[in-house]
């Protein structure tokens, strides 16, 4: 019985880890490459969720909503980058304030369009219900789907970053912007594309998270907070850091919440993060190589 409970919590933890990975990936890319503290990340997730709601009303499902949200929110990110961020890249405080303002504007505009009521997005029929893993332990199909999506998005990002010319430019710009420019790399274009791609990933996050949470204009904020926790713990600018940060936070929070309760579990996770970054200030996957 005890063993079954532990396994159940570990599996629940995996799905929480998957949610964290999905939510944090877009932020990790934008923060890690362009150096922008994107305070509108939660709102980009929210727009992705509303996109899923619209697709749902039009008769589509999550599978259709994912690419649609990627395109819609990616284009929104492109507009934000071209309209505002490109002028203030070198000023961290201004980018922070500007993206915060963008977040407020997005919340207001969405509220004006869709109204203050909550929207509910159902999971695709094929992903409703659950199955039994070991013995009689139930596990929902949608949670398994989230784990698969997280793995696929990580794989997509790894391919883009490590197997494409754009990825090579991205890695160079992230490490040395000035020299990348001197090597002929159009760093402004790389920033623009990465902001667009990261925003698109946030949109996908919103689309797949919509069925597990009521869709509202404020739904993105907790995900944004979790995403920043993942980045701080895992280390900025390293994709393995997203996996490590999500893994530690997701499993720790699930298990601690089971042992104590949600509030104490959350509190202990915050304490855990403080202790870890006290020991490794640059996060678990911080850099340390010969320059």
């Amino acid at each position: 019985m005890v063993m079954q409970s532990i396994i159940t919590q570990l599996l629940n933890g995996f799905s929480v880890v998957a949610i964290l990975v999905i939510a944090a990936l877009g932020l990790a890319i934008i923060f890690g490459v362009a150096g922008v503290i994107n305070m509108a990340h939660g709102e980009l997730i929210m727009v992705g969720a509303y996109t899923a709601a619209v697709v749902g009303k039009a008769g589509g499902n999550t599978f259709i909503a994912m690419p649609v949200a990627f395109i819609v929110v990616g284009l929104l990110g492109l507009a934000i980058e071209r309209g505002i961020i490109q002028w203030i890249y070198d000023r961290p405080l201004e980018t922070l304030l500007a993206t915060w303002g963008v977040g407020i504007i997005l919340q207001t505009v969405i509220k004006l369009i869709f109204g203050p009521e909550l929207y509910y997005v159902g999971a695709p029929k094929i992903l409703r219900g659950g199955f039994h893993l070991i013995g009689r332990l139930p596990f929902p199909w949608y949670r398994l789907f989230l784990i698969v999506v997280a793995a696929c998005l990580m794989a997509l990002v790894f391919v883009v970053i490590f197997k494409t010319n754009l990825g090579l430019k991205v890695r160079a710009v992230r490490r040395n912007r000035a020299i990348s420019g001197c090597l002929g790399i159009d760093t402004a274009r790389v920033d623009m594309l990465i902001f667009c791609f990261g925003s698109g990933l946030a949109g996908v996050a919103g689309a797949v998270l919509a069925p597990i949470k009521s869709v509202s204009t404020t739904m993105g904020f907790p995900y944004a907070v979790d995403s920043y926790m993942v980045l701080v713990l895992g280390g900025v600018g390293n994709l393995w850091g997203v996996v490590a940060g999500s893994g530690l936070i997701g499993e720790a929070e699930t298990i601690l919440s089971f042992i104590f309760n949600n509030v104490i579990g959350r509190l202990l996770v915050f304490l855990f993060i403080v202790v870890i970054i006290r020991i490794v200030p640059r996060g678990i996957f911080g850099y340390s190589e010969r320059q």
Partner: protein
């Protein structure tokens, strides 16, 4: 004329670093810029590359005004830069550093060009290693190779032998001497080693607190000038 710099003023914030600096470099010429630490030599190169663009004045490359252009456009027009301290991208491989330079120039290639191994045979065995784990000499070879694959009209080199052991310095010096004739490009060289400058450069300019105080042919770089402007 390959490069013509006319009356540029460069600032870091409110600090005025370069004052009305002018110089000209002809085709296939090696031109040395000398000066004490903090004289503005690196700032001059960064002004030409566009990393720290001047506030006024003119810079032309092959007759094209480049002072208002971004760094990557200047590179595509024929400028390549070997920066002080090499500045190799540390977490990508030697091969990827080369591919990056090719991409930056708009040249696509699936293999490292032979020119890299013609100049630096040792890089062949280091292709898969990360730039950040190379020794200083190996990084300098990579920095020069990275610039050469871009087929530059003008190569800017900022203290290419700084901090290297003597045997490596000799090797790098020999290669720099070959470049103008082999590659048909000019070199603007910032260098502290006066013997090397005398042996390689046709003209020199001395910067002192951001101003050019002496500009001539290197056979007129006398001990008096050295004592007056370069010794501490």
């Amino acid at each position: 004329m390959t490069l013509q710099v006319s009356g540029i003023d460069t600032f870091y914030g409110t600090s005025h670093i370069l004052h009305q600096v002018s110089l000209e470099i002809g085709e296939g010429e090696i031109y040395a810029v000398l000066g004490r630490n903090g004289a503005g030599k690196t700032t001059l190169l960064r002004s030409i590359t566009g990393v720290n663009p001047p506030r006024n004045g003119s810079i032309t490359l092959g007759g094209v005004e480049i002072s208002g252009l971004k760094s990557h456009v200047r590179t595509r027009l024929g400028l390549s830069y070997v920066p002080q301290g090499r500045e190799i991208i540390p977490d990508i491989t030697v091969a990827e550093n080369i591919y990056l330079a090719l991409l930056g120039k708009g040249l696509k290639s699936d293999k490292v060009p032979d020119i890299v191994f013609d100049y630096f045979p040792k890089l062949r065995e280091l292709l898969g290693r990360k730039g950040g784990v190379l020794s200083g000499g190996e990084q300098q070879q990579l920095a020069i190779a990275r610039a050469l694959v871009q087929e530059p009209k003008l190569l800017l080199m900022d203290e290419p032998t700084e901090g290297l052991q003597p045997s490596v310095v000799e090797e790098i010096d020999a290669i720099i001497k070959r470049i103008p004739t082999d590659r048909k490009c000019s070199i603007l060289l910032v260098e502290q080693n006066l013997d090397f400058v005398r042996s390689i450069a046709r003209k020199f300019a001395i910067l002192d607190t951001g101003r050019i105080v002496c500009q001539d042919e290197t056979d007129r770089l006398t001990d008096r000038i050295v004592r007056q402007y370069l010794q501490i």
